[in-house]
Amino acid sequence: MALQDAARPGGSERASWFYDPKVRGIVFQLVLLAVLALCLWWIVDNTIENLRRSNISTGFAFLRGRSGFDISDRLIDYSSDSTYGRALVVGMLNTVLVAASGIVTATILGFLIGVLRLSNNWLLRKLATVYVEIFRNIPPLLVIFFLYVGVLSLLPLPRDSYVLPFGSYLNSRGFYFPRFVWGDGSWLVAAGLGLGVVFSYFVARWARARQMATGQQFPVFRTSVLLILGLPLLGLAAAGFPLTIDFPQAGTFNMTGGFNVKPEFMSLYLALSIYTAAFIAEIVRAGIQGVPRGQTEAYSALGLRPRQGMRLVVIPQAMRIIIPPLTSQYLNLTKNSSLAVAIGFPDLYAIGGTILNQTGQAIEIVVIFGVIYLSISLLTSLFMNWFNAKMALRER
């Protein structure tokens, strides 16, 4: 060391700017940006050249073109005369529908199995473990295929449909059930529902405030159910029951009328729910186990029964552990809904692919995919973050 010091002439106080981490950082970033810009320029240049060579137009004008193809599962009006843009909206709504219904079912199933994993009943515990270990370890695509093949091979042709209660039928073309057709004055029902929800909210707030102040409890749940179900019914009666029921009937080929859930949707929705439920079950188990044992002992000491203790003490604390990983499972389920393409359910990815095939606008379609999937993911995360913040530990 001494030798080195001696060798440095002058022994300046400040090191050369070359060794200043700040300068180095800036230079490194500039170089990185330059390299990236070069790459980007190279890619853009090649792409333009390639597109020019094969005479492909660019831009989003194609979205206004007539699509020409039909889509069977749709939530909004659509026909082959509609535009490509509308077809994409149909696909996006289908993706959202499958994702939303899958999330609800997966959550319910997942919580149930997660709780069973901790049950003191040995047999149920083992069954839940078997379920989790099977579905966590096979690809979701396989589950989808398997359910689709299973659904198609188990269900009969329309003419020998399974007849279910309430005028519903089940056959290889899907699940048919009666549809309510609302007549004049139905707005009263909707208004009743809206009022029910609003009232329930205020009742819950009032009950909480009262409990904080006096310690008295109020049956909020029962009141809310009564309000939310009762008010619409009241509205229905007031409007003079403007309700007809459209029952499915056997047609030449398929059933006509009623509401039809197609086998593609059924198998995709069930597969995604079953698959994701296995992961949610593990998250729930870890969450409940993550609540220190002392909490259980404490609520027993306070004289709460296990069920009450679970609901009031353990679950609220477990939720804080559960929500972040739960969010990423919801995102995974949404993204896995793009596997619909493998069994012919017209989700965003499938319809985008068809449009790409007709118009050749590969780059625009990928941009649309990116924007829509990112927005769905972002909205889900935002909602879950809000929920998480609500559930977070509030220290007083």
């Binding site: 090649n46 069954l127 793009s338 990116g370």
Partner: protein, 385 residues
């Protein structure tokens, strides 16, 4: 009140009494674990009925009634469908799986060259096994061989085209071979890329941080099929005309990009768990950035997130099945393709083929998850109560 002699002290231990009859033995176990409350008892009975209903059917279908050998579809048809089996028969058609086994494993890889795959597989196992056993010696050499040397040897063995091996083009590859190649490459490339991205995301340089965040969040926000779609269809548009990529290579690029974004988030979790003192300690020793990260922070962070890394691997292994959507034939893809073979079209073929694929995937994933749990227990020394 009578006075007792309280000076008496017991000098020998009382004989241990056996536990009450109601607390030991099978009966007690049954009572505690299955019939503790009426509700529990009812649930147990229901579950038992469910198992009794399901298990015989499954066993019967998969084992007792299954067809194990046969030359074509007629072997798996019952009397109503025009086959030799009794009417009403329903069972697995393992004969189909047997007939297609070679294809399921390696695709249309030429039969005369298949020894190359087997050799690669043996090398893989020989190198991997000691790496997984914590007590096996020569870890460093082993890791170098497995992660740095093996890829080149495997590349030469599988693809060939130089050093005396004939060239086997990748469209001929298929089945489990493709599944394993994609997962292996994904694992080997995503780890270093993930480390770089995670460091980038925690970097103090705004440009580096921004780029890492944008990349990670974009890739994590879209489904893998979209990434594969991009790699498959857009990549050729990005390069000069005439330059072309192999289809397998495109899938590999897609999977590597996708998994590195997930890996980055797992590793970031580990980095966040390292106390600030460790960074400051490294700084005070005068270590540079890469020394600090490589010698102090990363070894601790990676150790913390081993379970997360293995979970990402499992996810990636399962995700390889999605390459089927861009018309590549991994294990699931080739099973699906063979289901269309009219020589084997029976009502049982699809179920048998898919279940076979499921079992193979399950064995690999279950094995990995068990190993991760084992490692977790081994490494988790500090927090046990």
């Amino acid at each position: 009140m009578q006075e007792h002699d309280i000076s008496w002290v017991r000098t020998e231990m009382a004989l241990a009494q056996s536990a009450p009859r109601s607390e030991v033995g099978p009966a007690a176990w049954l009572r505690q674990n299955l019939f503790s409350t009426p509700v529990n008892a009812a649930l147990t009975v229901l579950a038992l009925l469910f198992v009794a209903w399901l298990l015989p059917q499954v066993l019967n279908w998969a084992l007792f009634s299954a067809v194990w050998t046969g030359a074509d579809r007629t072997a798996c048809l019952n009397a109503e469908q025009g086959g030799p089996l009794p009417s009403g028969w329903s069972g697995a058609c393992w004969a189909f799986v047997g007939a297609k086994f070679g294809q399921f494993m390696v695709g249309r890889y030429p039969v005369d060259e298949r020894w190359r795959i087997y050799l690669t597989a043996v090398l893989f196992v020989v190198l991997l096994a000691p790496l997984l056993i914590p007590r096996a010696p020569f870890k460093r050499l082993n890791a170098i061989l497995f992660f740095a040397v093996f890829p080149f040897v495997a590349f030469w063995l599988l693809l060939g085209g130089f050093l005396g091996l004939s060239y086997v083009e990748t469209p001929l590859w298929g089945g489990l071979l493709v599944t394993l190649v994609i997962s292996y490459v994904g694992i080997v490339t995503s780890l270093p890329l993930g480390v770089l991205l995670a460091l980038g995301r925690r970097s103090k340089m705004p440009a580096v941080k921004l780029l890492s965040v944008v990349f990670i969040e974009t890739v994590r926000g879209v489904p893998l099929v979209v990434v594969l779609f991009m790699a498959s269809f857009m990549l050729p548009l990005f390069v000069p005309p005439g330059m072309s990529f192999d289809k397998l290579l495109r899938a590999l690029i897609g999977v590597a990009l996708f998994s590195s974004a997930y890996m980055a988030e797992v590793i970031r979790g580990g980095l966040q768990a390292i106390p600030k003192g460790q960074y400051e300690g490294a700084d005070s020793l005068g270590l540079g950035y890469w020394q600090k990260m490589g010698l102090i922070v990363m070894p601790q962070a990676l150790k913390l997130v081993i379970p997360g890394i293995v979970n990402t691997f499992i996810g990636m292994f399962k995700d390889t099945s999605l390459v089927l959507i861009i018309s590549m034939f991994d294990l699931l893809g080739i099973v699906k393709q063979n289901l269309a073979d009219s020589n084997w079209a029976t009502p049982q073929t699809a179920k048998s083929g898919l279940i076979f694929a499921a079992v193979v995937f399950w064995i690999f994933c279950f094995g990995m998850s068990r190993y991760s749990q084992y490692m977790e227990r081994r490494l988790d020394t500090g927090y046990r109560r």
